[in-house]
Subunit: 333 residues, 2 copies
């Protein structure tokens, strides 16, 4: 029997279509991915090719090594083909009926490792911690820049997830505006807060921990679970237990705690689903809303095991052919 | 110089990333699609395989031929693996914190032609008219059914667009609720109406016709154009000139007029971009809002020439690597 479920935090409805149900095992790819070498001389993100990228903004590197030379273990650079740039005017302009602004903002790449064939799933914990610490550091630094209103950190793993370079990397885009989509999410969370006096994410976490059947991993500071109304098969939310709207507020210890959960969860996806492509998004409040009572930062992992089609694009309602309780169970053990 | 543009109807921001700009010709696929036979005995939608599908709901067929036998030229069937079904209870149920309902609704398939290898781009005009007339007919019929609140008609062309069966078909999903995404779109359009006293889509159409540079085709009753803030390369809106919130209000003549524009536009995409995969969505108001002054039905065509990735999923902001004026020009001539 199909079911329509609502995500109470986002208010999005999802159809859980059991008539077309697939078993967790059905998602394993028929062909294994081609394995990559640990070094590729043609890859602009590999050590020795630093001159092929814009000059680095920051790096963790061995004492005594030079900027834009090998010796780094995490390297942050501006995107060579940026979606947004910082050297433009920041003002809205009307063109008759239409509204636009110059593409002000930042678009950075976080090269997560010198090794070409690693991923957050199989790096050392120490290395994933460094990546999460850099997320935090860049987030905090850019938050204080004038006219930056919203920062999105994300990771596209694999070709189906929209990446063009396979070397392990995350990206960060800093926007001069709050997107409409985010405004709507904030508004829905605010309405819940006004009705109940609690953050909807905090309440969701409490319920998930009580119900337990969708929880994949619980640590001292995080819970990873499949949402009740998961939009996609094996979609996962990693939510901090401490209420906190803005990612920039986290401590270094929390960043390390996130690293542990990320590596563990991505590791399970990697081994149990044979390294599927996925998108990872760090959801957070706009910078000026970082201390609101009603919003809560979290990480969302969206494996690309299904294709959103016309119905999803038109209605915003996703059809999920798996039962979150079942897929959570598959990933828990 | 990148630009951030707002779609004033949906209020969505789009980044037009000219730094990573592609020329219209760059989108032609490297390999041509494998051509299909006009008949495939293993295809459940081909004539002779009618018994493989659920019994038909309706068909246009030759006089004297039997239901669920060959002789039809357009055939409507329930989806064999429906996302929603009609034989369930319609009431919202809470499960502690969570909210759900049984999967009530309709999920139908419109088989557009007996010929396996045709598409709306290369069928006869008469045949596309029949398809559009069937859209209208099913829309009107289902609109009057109890508890149906919203009807989405869509078409997934090609594997990248999420289809599993290549035989030409559209789908219709009738929902027992108005999705949050649609509520937000209506609200934004309503705000514009309240400020200006005009429908934002009517105003957009007027401006596009004056500016002309994004208009691809204008007929007596429709305008096809690339929106100022097009989310994807070659994204197209086909908007009726007559204000009308609900698709169910259109006349048979308007349905035929739509068929002409659809066939022409999809034909240009087919020939100029070598038959790319695409999604087509018919946007319309919820049924009870069919006569509102502030909303406007339209058809959106989204070629799958780019992959929305983590940034798009997290922010709702799309990065488009083409200039709508340029791609419109490419499709106009």
């Amino acid at each position: 029997m199909p079911e329509i479920r609502q995500n109470r935090a986002t208010k999005e409805w999802v159809i859980i279509a059991t008539e077309r149900a697939k078993r967790p095992d059905d998602f394993k790819p028929k062909e294994k991915k081609k394995s990559l070498p640990s070094f590729d001389k043609d890859c602009p993100f590999c050590p020795g090719s630093e001159h092929q990228t814009p000059p680095e903004l920051f790096s963790y590197r061995k004492r005594g090594t030079e900027k834009d030379k090998p010796g780094w273990w995490v390297r942050i650079i501006p995107n060579k083909f940026p979606a947004l740039i910082s050297e433009v005017e920041l003002s809205r302009v009307t063109e008759g009926f239409f509204l636009k602004m110059e593409g002000f903002g930042r678009h950075e790449v976080i090269i997560e490792s010198p090794e070409h064939n690693l991923s957050l799933a199989n790096m050392s914990l120490k290395q994933v911690e460094e990546v999460c610490l850099v997320y935090r550091q860049r987030y905090i630094e850019l938050s204080s820049e004038k006219n930056i209103k919203m920062i999105i950190i994300f990771r596209n793993h694999g070709l189906a997830a929209g990446t063009s370079l396979l070397h392990p990397h995350s990206q960060l885009i800093a926007l001069p505006l709050v997107p409409t989509h985010i405004r709507h999410l904030l508004e829905e969370a605010m309405r819940y807060y006004d009705d109940h006096g609690y953050c909807v994410f905090c309440d969701m976490l409490k319920e998930e921990l009580e119900f337990k059947k969708r929880v994949i991993l619980e640590t001292e500071s995080f819970v990873a679970f499949q949402p009740f109304a998961s939009k996609v098969p094996f979609g996962i939310w990693i939510v901090p237990k401490t209420h906190n709207a803005g990612f920039g507020n986290i401590t270094a210890d929390e960043a390390k705690g996130l690293a542990f959960v990320l590596r563990e969860i991505l590791g399970r996806i990697y081994s149990k689903l044979s390294d599927p492509d996925y998108n990872l998004v760090l959801h957070t409040a706009p910078i000026t809303d970082s201390n609101e009572d009603y919003y809560h930062w979290y990480v969302q992992i969206l494996p690309r095991l299904s294709t959103p089609a016309g119905f999803e694009l038109g209605s915003g309602v996703y059809i999920n052919t798996t039962l979150p309780e079942e897929t959570a169970n598959f990933l828990s053990s």
